[in-house]
């Protein structure tokens, strides 16, 4: 188990925790912010697995575009889940 | 000469990672969002800049790209920290009870907006 494996394990556990948080929380804006963290960790994991094309697509689409679309949807609906 | 360059690069990388860690520690430990901004942007900016400069010195062929990266960090990080500070003030995030000065209260531009 090298140090890089340890880092990957930490990142995967963080990703799982973030996904659980997104499902459980009632504040949808917080869910959007934590979704940005999930895409960040996914980009690092693709990078560590040496898939730079996938990492760059993940960074471009998931970090910027998805967040903007979610925010517009939130603006048109409610911020807090009933 | 080359050994000296590698030594400088290693030192810069060490300083960079240390400051990145300290910035994250500040984000974790400080009491409210305005204090967290201090650590979360200034310290990590210095850390990332010195780490990238160290990597650029360790591999001199990458130096131009590393300089472009540093320019991007220098241009984007202050703007995002300003936006976060303004957004949290406008959305009514209260100051920590230990804070003593709030100059923004006196200006009209600071009133306003959404919900925290």
């Amino acid at each position: 188990m090298t140090l890089l494996n340890l880092l990957e394990t930490l990142l995967v556990i963080g990703m799982l925790g973030a996904a659980l948080f997104v499902v459980r929380t009632r504040d949808l804006l917080a869910a959007v912010v934590v979704t940005a963290i999930i895409s960040l960790v996914a980009a690092i994991l693709f990078y560590v697995l040496q898939a730079p094309d996938v990492a760059i697509t993940e960074a471009a689409i998931d970090a910027g575009l998805t967040t903007a679309i979610f925010l517009v949807a939130l603006r048109k609906t409610e911020r807090y889940e009933k | 000469m080359n050994l000296l360059l590698q030594g400088v690069a290693g030192t810069l990388i060490l300083i960079g990672s240390l400051f990145l860690f300290l910035g994250a520690l500040g984000v974790y430990r400080f009491p409210d969002v305005y204090n967290r901004l201090q650590a979360g942007t200034k310290s990590t900016t210095l850390g990332a800049l010195s780490l990238i400069l160290g990597v650029g010195l360790a591999e001199p062929a990458w130096l131009p790209k590393a300089l472009v990266l540093m320019l991007f960090i220098l241009l984007t990080n202050p703007v995002s920290s300003h936006a976060i500070g303004r957004a949290s003030y406008k959305s009514g995030y209260p100051l920590w009870e230990g804070s003593i000065v709030d100059h923004c209260q006196e200006h009209d531009a600071c009133k306003g907006g959404g919900e925290a």
Binding site: P52, D53, A55, I56, T57, A59, A60, I61, G64, L65, A68, I69, V72, R75, K76 | F72, L75, T76, P78, V79, H82, A83, R86, K90, G112, G113, G114
Partner: protein
């Protein structure tokens, strides 16, 4: 309570099944002859250093045309949906916070830089990671930055439609040129050149430039529709 137990049981069964299925597949070893062929012959045949883009554009170019079509349909459908939504909007807000001076000034500096970054990504698709789709999205995000920091910023919808249509048409015309000159649709009719140079790898840069323009204009049009419904 029973539903929760059932859900956990279902998850456990799925986990055991997945484990049983994947335990026999060794991780990290390649069993596919096709990918081995691409890795061995891709650089000499086509001249693209980045094998992934060679596969996406040349070996599997027809699939990429399908992907672009799917993206076009999705953007058109979403645009139609949003256009109808703007008419029946009851939840308008009274005041909007104007963007701050720092944000506006920084956007004026950063907007051309990010546009340039997007163009770099899709022009260098055969040399560095990335390609048409991420490059187009980066271009669209530069416009998103402009929409965020300037309240009265607009794009010309007619021009966006025209760019999108022209880019799609150019893609198909390049494919038909391949059919005419080299015998099959989307065939590589330009010489591979020296691997590692900007002008190499046949038609990969041309196709990626058209894809970049197409994706960028589509996403920009979408974001601008979204900006209009939030007003």
């Amino acid at each position: 309570m029973t539903r929760r137990v059932l859900a956990i049981l279902l998850l456990l069964i799925l986990a055991v099944a997945l484990y049983q299925a994947l335990a026999r597949v060794p991780f990290g070893t390649d069993r596919m002859a096709v990918s081995r062929y691409y890795l061995d012959h891709g650089v000499q045949d086509l001249g693209g250093v980045n094998i992934v883009t060679s596969v996406v554009v040349l070996y599997r170019g027809f699939d990429t045309l399908g992907e672009v079509t799917v993206l076009f349909l999705a953007a058109t459908g979403l645009g139609a949906l949003l256009h109808g939504l703007a008419l029946h909007d009851e939840k308008r807000r009274r005041t909007k916070t104007p963007p701050s001076l720092i944000m506006r000034t920084a956007t004026r500096i950063l907007f051309p830089l990010i546009l340039l970054l997007g163009a770099y990504v899709f022009v260098h698709g055969h040399l560095t990671p990335g390609g048409g789709f991420p490059g187009g999205v980066v271009v669209a995000l530069a416009y998103l930055l402009g929409f965020l920091a300037h309240d009265h910023w607009r794009v010309n919808h007619r021009a966006v439609r025209w760019i999108e249509g022209l880019a799609g048409m150019t893609y198909v015309i390049i494919g038909l040129l391949g059919l005419y000159l080299a015998g099959s649709f989307l065939a590589n009719f330009l010489p591979p050149g020296t691997p590692g140079r900007l002008f190499s790898a046949g038609i990969i840069p041309l196709i990626y430039i058209t894809i970049g323009f197409k994706v960028g204009s589509e996403m920009t049009g979408l974001l601008s529709e979204m900006k209009e419904i939030t007003e």
